[in-house]
């Protein structure tokens, strides 16, 4: 049996944010977590990925000792949360399933916004922190590096990253098709709400020039402005900003449209027709539908954006299939490498390798020495066998010993490299 790679974790699909919050790890807690994990029975290597959307513990168990229940207990004890409260949200995967899962996470196929680029950075950070704490070893090192290259392959060989999936992502992509360079764009956020704030965050990440925030409750605007590094504007004054802002996100609780076509038309004149992009996330809507009829003004409400997302979704599904094929291929390769780490096949291969060399050299020499008697030939044959056996004795014993004490993989890897067995 080979060592077992396992993933125990939960993500945005399996667990609500309240549960994820409770189980997430701070960077400062990691050093303690890793020493606790190391003490678990059979754990050889470990790493922890903790983002706002997922918490995952990666471990390599000594063969035959894998016990994911221990990891659950560890999570529960470490965060002082009863196991029952999160047990149903947990997925525990091992071996090929675990490897596939890790590759999918790194390639952003398992993300809330599939194809979003941040996860790879978070994944690299998680690996960096695990190595700093000396928690990873041969197998996880190799697995993480492989995951980085798989993510890169998926990024370059499929267009998964190109297609917008989430609504706010779609809004940013659309803005790029209108304005080209978002770093020159000013954004105005009218009202608040989770969706609207998420969209604003996406725009900020895309590198907009400036953000203004307005809200009926001015304090709320000030708080958000602080969060976003923007400027708060009194609710009575925001229309004056239409002259200079390019992208407007609205999500107020108003029952009637608060942005009328007349106001926008007047602003367009002052703007010398520089384009404006309204994103109306409110239901009922905040922006008059007629606004979209004005030249150089584009209005998308929540339904329009949803439609954009579903159109992209089809494109994305096609690309996702391509990505899954890449991952299948890489998982198979990794399993192959893992198989080869095993002791017994390595000893056999080592012997076969030596035997092949012995035979070849023997034939060469015997071919030259034509006048040897049969007895002499047998003596030479025995001589070569003895040399090979004596030479291989050391490595073979070492391999067998390490198999028993469970630290085989590194030795196997070294010996395979030394004798060029791969």
């Amino acid at each position: 049996m080979r060592d077992l790679i396992t993933v125990v974790g939960l993500n945005h699909k399996t667990a609500p944010v309240e549960v994820r919050e409770k189980l997430s790890f701070q960077e400062s807690q990691l050093s303690d977590s890793f020493s606790l994990l190391k003490q678990l029975q059979g754990v050889k290597e470990s790493a922890i990925l903790s983002t706002c959307n997922r918490v995952e513990v990666y471990t390599v168990f000594k063969s035959d000792t894998s016990n994911t229940e221990d990891i659950l207990t560890f999570l529960s004890e470490f965060h002082q949360v009863p196991v029952e409260t999160f047990k149903d949200c947990i997925y525990a995967l091992s071996d090929a399933h675990a490897i596939r899962h890790i590759f999918r996470v790194a390639s952003s196929l398992d993300s809330m916004v599939v194809g979003e680029p941040q996860i790879l950075g978070q994944f690299k950070d998680a690996y960096g922190l695990a190595t700093q704490n000396k928690a990873t070893g041969l197998i996880l090192n190799r697995l993480f590096h492989k995951a980085f290259s798989v993510a890169k392959r998926v990024r370059t060989e499929t267009r998964i990253a190109n297609s917008a999936v989430s609504i706010s992502f779609a809004a940013v992509e659309l803005a790029k098709k209108i304005f080209d360079d978002l770093s020159a764009c000013r954004v105005l956020l009218i009202g608040a709400g989770e969706m609207c704030e998420l969209a604003a965050k996406h725009f900020i990440n895309a590198g907009i020039y400036e953000i203004y925030i307005t809200n009926r409750t001015f304090n709320r605007a000030i708080a958000l402005a602080e969060d976003f590094g923007g400027q708060a504007v009194p609710f009575t004054d925001y229309a004056a900003l239409f002259e200079k802002v390019d992208i407007i996100l609205t999500s107020t609780g108003a029952t009637e449209p608060i942005v009328t076509a007349d106001v926008v038309a007047a602003a367009m004149k002052k703007r010398k027709n520089r384009p404006m992009f309204f994103i109306d996330i409110a239901v009922p809507r905040d922006v008059e539908e007629k606004v979209n009829d004005l030249a150089n003004v584009y209005l998308y409400d929540i339904d329009d954006l949803k439609e954009v997302v579903t159109a992209n979704q089809q494109e994305r599904e096609k690309e996702a299939r391509k990505a899954e094929a890449i991952i299948d291929e890489e998982v198979a390769q990794f399993l192959h490498w893992l198989d080869n780490l095993e002791v017994v096949p390595t000893i056999k291969q080592l012997r076969d390798h030596a035997e092949a060399i012995r035979q070849a050299e023997l034939q060469k020499t015997l071919g030259k020495l034509k006048n040897l008697s049969e007895k002499d030939k047998q003596a030479i044959e025995r001589l070569t066998q003895a040399i090979v056996n004596k030479l291989l004795h050391g490595p073979s014993v070492m391999l067998k010993q390490t198999e028993q004490n469970g630290a085989g993989s590194a030795v196997v890897e070294t010996i395979r490299k030394m004798f060029n067995l791969d």
């Binding site: 659309l174 384009p275 329009d304």
Partner: protein, 275 residues
């Protein structure tokens, strides 16, 4: 020899055009690099044809309809390549502009291509200046025509909320509009100077700066349309769809001035006739 090299350039342009169509069907970024390289090689051969013509004829090589058509195609390719190497993300323009290059080069080969002696009246230093300025201006406006069409497609898509493959393929509205404006500020002076040098030359040749022959009249109409566009852009901030439509109409007028006048109306510029 001259014809063979012209056909070779045409063949390279046609390959570039085909690849540009393939790019629209399956957009792989490295295709654009290839198209650029193929067009560049075609362009080098094309450039060589003018040198050869100059050597063979012993005169300035852009005097008749064949020569002006091929020079127009040359100018268009020149600016297309400049845009390709200068601006990121605009290269899908290949798919819109290469058909015009190929069409005009084909057209140039379908009219008499022989070396005709130059009418004595046309011999003047103002001839090359006038012709080069006018046709380079025309080539610029051909590009604004293509970019305007791209703009209208993209605008329509975004306005009507039909987001898809085409939207991601085409550049952003702002980039297209800015490029149109920038090209207008280059094309318009060329056109203006082309008309001025033309009238100076007319004074030399026919003894009158302006004689209202159809080509002159239509050039003036074209000039007025572009002048109005430039004026509106600068003062009231005309842009986007309106500006794109005017650029398309402007290029329609250029085509009529260039070809239609020769075909349909007669006048002093009759040396540009079809046969």
């Amino acid at each position: 020899m001259y014809l063979y090299i012209t056909i070779l350039a045409l063949a390279l342009y046609a390959i570039g055009m085909t690849l540009a169509f393939v790019y629209v069907a399956s957009p792989k970024p490295h295709y654009l690099k290839w198209i650029g390289k193929i067009l560049l090689i075609g362009f080098i051969f094309h450039t060589f044809t003018f040198l050869l013509r100059y050597y063979q004829a012993g005169r300035f090589p852009i005097t008749n309809l064949h020569e002006s058509l091929t020079f127009f195609a040359w100018g268009l390719t020149l600016f297309l390549l400049i845009l390709h190497y200068k601006y990121k993300g605009i290269s899908v323009l290949f798919s819109f502009a290469t058909p015009i290059v190929v069409l005009f080069l084909l057209l140039s080969l379908s009219v008499p291509t022989g070396l005709f002696p130059l009418a004595p009246i046309l011999k003047s230093i103002w001839l090359p200046i006038h012709v080069i300025l006018a046709f380079l201006g025309d080539a610029i406006f051909a590009l604004t025509f293509c970019i305007s069409i791209m703009y209208l497609i993209q605008e329509h898509r975004i306005k009507k909320k039909k987001i898809g493959k085409m939207t991601s393929l085409l550049p952003s509205l702002t980039l297209l509009d800015q490029l149109n404006y920038r090209l207008l500020t280059i094309g318009f002076p060329l056109l203006t100077l082309g008309i001025i040098t033309g009238s100076i030359w007319a004074e030399y040749a026919w003894g009158s700066y302006w004689s209202w022959d159809p080509k002159e009249t239509w050039s003036l109409i074209t000039w007025l349309v572009y002048a109005a566009l430039l004026h509106q852009r600068l003062t009231v901030g005309w842009r986007g769809k309106k500006a794109a439509w005017v650029a398309i109409i402007g290029f329609g007028l250029i085509l009529f001035t260039f070809l239609g006048v020769n075909l349909l109306l007669s006048g002093l510029h009759s040396y540009g006739r079809w046969s």
